[in-house]
Symmetry: C2
């Protein structure tokens, strides 16, 4: 397999460069990328230091690295561009066309994305995260009144990480409710959730995958047995169907995809964006 080293170089956190860079890399199946993030390159001196690091890799590997950059300051970008690498800046092709369309000069100030410009947005995110932590599996807090969505599913179907992701990325208030054996046997919506039926979203998962996940947690337990897992998943799916809940199968989905599909299906507006 071909190998190439990729540097994400940014004057800020590097998250934007990592995100678009990663999307682009997934389009090249045959190549194994080694990834290095070089954040906070905000001065010419730091840029020179980064170039030394990149040039060293170019020399060691005998093939020039790829640089994905989000550098707004021209003098910094000019230094990084001179390294012995294939250089792509992610702002470059878009800022001039946007300036023309918006009839506004861009500030050319250091990237302000992912900095605390907006105290309100920050507070929303922290509130939503604390809400997810407080309204998690088996907790006593059940503040469904405030919830944008309540995820329902069997243990280890992906509820907790999805709630946290919805909170941290989008400022969404997501609670979750683990279906108990009583709930599963009755195939009814649990009583505390009844008034909030329209906020419910079901998570399901393929039994073999669930068994694998539970086995890592509690090997050879009843909890992780094929019969128990199959019973729970079937009963949960039948409960979802009986009550007409929207459902997503999380088996092949990333947390990002689960989260984005939930918002899409429920028509919930994102309060924040990454």
């Amino acid at each position: 397999m071909l190998k190439r080293t990729v540097f994400f170089v940014s004057d800020q956190t590097g998250i934007t460069a990592e995100t678009l860079g990663h999307s682009l890399m997934t389009q090249f199946d045959g190549i194994e990328f080694k990834q290095i993030t070089v954040p906070f390159i905000s001065t010419v001196d730091k840029a020179r230091e980064a170039v030394r690091k990149i040039d060293l890799v170019a020399k060691q590997e005998g093939v020039r690295p790829v640089i994905f950059s989000t550098l707004v300051q021209e003098e910094v970008r000019d230094v990084v561009r001179q390294s012995d690498a294939f250089f792509l800046d992610f702002f470059d092709p878009f800022l001039i066309p946007l300036e023309q369309e918006l009839k506004t000069q861009s500030s050319h100030a250091m990237s302000r994305s992912h900095r605390m410009a907006d105290t309100h947005a920050y507070a929303t995110r922290i509130d939503a995260t604390n809400f997810a932590l407080a309204n998690d599996d088996g907790s006593v807090v059940r503040d469904y009144e405030r919830a944008d969505v309540v995820l329902v599913g069997v243990s280890r179907s992906g509820k907790t990480p999805t709630c946290l992701y919805l909170a941290m990325q989008y400022g969404i208030f997501a609670a979750n409710y683990p279906l108990t054996e009583d709930d599963l046997e009755s195939r009814r919506i649990p009583a505390p959730l009844e008034p909030y039926a329209r906020k419910l979203f079901g998570l399901t998962i393929r039994p073999d995958r669930l068994q694998q996940i539970r086995n890592e947690r509690r090997p050879d337990s009843r909890y992780a047995s094929a019969s128990q897992v199959t019973f729970e998943v079937r009963a949960a799916e039948s409960l979802f169907e009986r009550h007409g809940l929207p459902v997503i199968d999380t088996t092949e989905c990333s947390i990002e995809e689960i989260s984005s599909r939930i918002l899409d299906r429920m028509g919930i507006e994102r309060r924040l964006r990454p």
Copy 2:
């Protein structure tokens, strides 16, 4: 203030379009952007539906919206491009140059970013998230042996959300330890942390901001009083200094920035990237 509506249109979650789009928007101070995410546009039919929505906004507002897209399939992109909007695709300027540099055809398959391609990466992320939740403030689990980093600071200095972000975005195992009054009075590293001194990272915060945060949580309490907050912050900073811990002031920082700076200062390699 000028207002413009922005659509993030993607064949997948829309996260890449949101992330770069948001970075670009922060460069235009004078404009208020209304943001709408249109994910999972994976067929020509869905693209036509999206175009109807976008054209309606163009008509209602009398000014064409901006589209930031990450659409890999040409036939889908061609439909969206025909809407009454200013269209920028974020893959377009980069795929051909990358194909040339990497001497490899890109797959032109639907974006695979943010999908569960890699079960190992997914498991790492879930493990790290569970680790952060288990090793959080005041919990009984203190598995510092496995931790990549242990955040130390007073209550509400930003430890929990930073640990969760490090876990979810980067697969980093981050524990946190809340400094007690005994710790603060002695100005010593707490005994359970002593063997892990090299993993410690201090979070501090401006007393007035901390007071504001605590007041929202417990109004008019001793916990939120000016004297208590000032004592705690000063004592924590003096402890950090005395033991030579790296420190970040979280007052003006986003969680992204805090996280990225911690990894940078500690020289910790990201296990995953967004």
